[in-house]
Amino acid sequence: MNGLNPFVLFAASIFTSNMILANFLGMCSFIAVSKDIKTSLGLGQAVTFVLTFTTVINYLLYRYVLIPMNLEYLRYIVFIISIAAFVQLVEMIVERQLPVLHHALGIFLPLITVNCAILGVSLFMVIRKYSLVQSVAFGFGSGVGWTMAIVALAGLKKRLNESRVPKGLRGAGITLIITGLMALGFMGFSGMVQIS
């Protein structure tokens, strides 16, 4: 067991081990959806929600099904299936209850299924041997960190619309450069706590 305080873990997963800025996971929707702050926030919430719950589900599956039966090596396929099923469930619920959000997220909600940040968090949890409480803190924190990064990027992109970007860099090029700069900035937090 890893003795980290869940609150420390929560803060670390936002600042020093941010899924996007430190691990570069979940880049596809990060780049594609960051055109508008409102939509980014919506997707960020969806990712946070899915991350928190899939981490819990996967923890329980791993701890109470896979470990007792010595089937740890099945974790990839089990995690992926449970994430896929959960996203599908969330999609149905969002479509019914929050049509505007559902519409804004469009194709991206199903894309969360293969968002590597989500599988990444579940795998980190297993590799780093977190407890249930730690896993929840880590999953939730990673989601918050992901949301923060995408909303920050959307804000920056809004400014970019009004500035002159060299032709060859427009679109994904400048986005990756900005992401790199943000990552450099976040490295400044690395003295706070290290969890890897």
Binding site: L61, V65, L66, M69, L71, L74, I77, V78, I81, S82, A85, Q88, L89, M92, I93, E95, R96, P99, V100, H103, A104
Partner: protein
């Protein structure tokens, strides 16, 4: 051996459990049950919920005009929703003006049916039907424009007002993997109920025009629906001024043919704009109409004709002879058909001449 059985059992158990949960969710959260649509306070329909309003109406044989096939990009399928449409989506705000949104106008393709809904649509949309037809004739009348005659199959008949349009359905074909609908004005006379004529110009990269120009052959089956549109012949005794360019001749031709067959005695002039001699068509039909109609004059104008070319008609833009003719706007009404740029320009000129805006009817292509 035991290991394999265990693995398979665990995986099946987990997957089976998740599948069970999802099926349960589909039965509860994903099932919207039957939803009632009330149209214009008189017609009630009972449809399966969860679909878009547009597709639910079309499966009930009520056709709302739509060019993009429900993707929310053309903005044609406007419907007034009085009750129960859910929140307005950001996509609609881009296509429906703010004052119309305040009145409840929505895009039918974006309204999901989840609760009883009350809508208002123009009465004439009840008249809209889906027709299947066979291409009797398809021929080039200019290098870029084709004339089509479509026979409605199985003795079907269409009722329309001269000037209205239909939507032709281009099925998926070699260069397009989706079915699209495009609007084309009817050129034939409403008295001929068993067939319609269309005049279709080629648009570079256009899905439907490419289909018509490169793939459609005589004897082929096509589908169309209609009639739509509020640009049509108005019955009164004002003098008629008609202006069109290119394929915009279609609705005007329909109006002229109607006047001929009904023996209507009104003075009318048709100003037709084209670039070169090659872009002119149906000159014989126009000459025939000039001879048979009560008082009709056809004025073609060519804008790109060299001084050395042989051309007895007007040289330059169609606006010049038109403006000369419109020095007196008394007791005249105008029918315009063409590109938005052309129509906006002519409407502006006519209003400057003192014409009442209400007497200018137009159809922007």
């Amino acid at each position: 051996m035991n290991g394999i059985v265990n693995t398979v059992a665990v995986m099946s158990g987990i997957t089976g459990f998740l599948a069970f949960i999802l099926t349960l969710a589909r039965r509860t959260v994903g099932d919207y049950g039957m939803v009632e649509i009330t149209i214009n306070d008189k017609k009630k329909l009972e449809v399966r919920g969860g679909d878009s309003l547009l597709s639910a109406l079309s499966s009930e044989k009520i056709f709302i005009p739509s060019a993009c096939g429900g993707k929310g990009t053309c903005g044609y399928c406007k419907v007034k929703v009085l009750q129960g449409g859910g929140a307005v989506l950001p996509m609609e705000e881009g296509l429906v003006p703010a004052d119309e949104i305040d009145e409840g106008v929505r895009l039918a393709c974006q309204v999901k049916l989840k609760e009883p809904i009350k809508i208002e649509i123009p009465d004439e949309l009840f008249n809209v039907r889906e027709y299947s037809a066979v291409v009797r004739k398809i021929e080039d009348i200019t290098p870029k424009i084709k004339h089509l005659v479509l026979d409605i199959v199985e003795g079907g008949e269409i009722d329309f007002k001269p000037g209205q349009y239909v939507q032709l359905v281009a099925p998926p074909y070699a260069e397009s993997d989706e079915s699209v609908q495009r609007a084309y004005s009817i050129a034939s006379c409403p008295d001929d109920k068993g067939f319609i004529e269309l005049i279709i110009g080629y648009v570079e990269g256009g899905i439907c025009t490419t289909y018509v120009h490169k793939y459609l052959k005589e004897g082929d089956h096509v589908n169309f629906n209609g009639p739509f549109g509020n640009f049509f012949y108005k019955d009164n005794d004002r003098e008629m001024i008609m202006v069109a360019a290119g394929t915009g001749m279609a609705p005007i031709l329909s109006i002229l043919r109607t006047m001929k067959s009904s023996g209507i005695k009104r003075r009318c002039s048709f100003f037709f704009g084209a670039k070169t001699r090659d872009d002119l068509f149906f000159l014989d039909k126009m000459q025939n109409l000039e001879e048979s109609l009560f008082d009709f004059e056809f004025v073609p104008a060519l804008s790109r004709i060299g001084p050395e070319d042989d051309w007895e008609g007007v040289r330059g833009r169609v606006t010049e002879p038109l403006m000369k003719h419109m020095d007196n706007v008394e007791n005249k009404e105008a029918y315009l058909c063409g590109s938005p740029v052309m129509i906006d320009a002519i409407v502006k000129l006519l209003i400057e001449k003192g014409m009442d805006e209400k007497l200018i009817y137009y159809d922007k292509f």
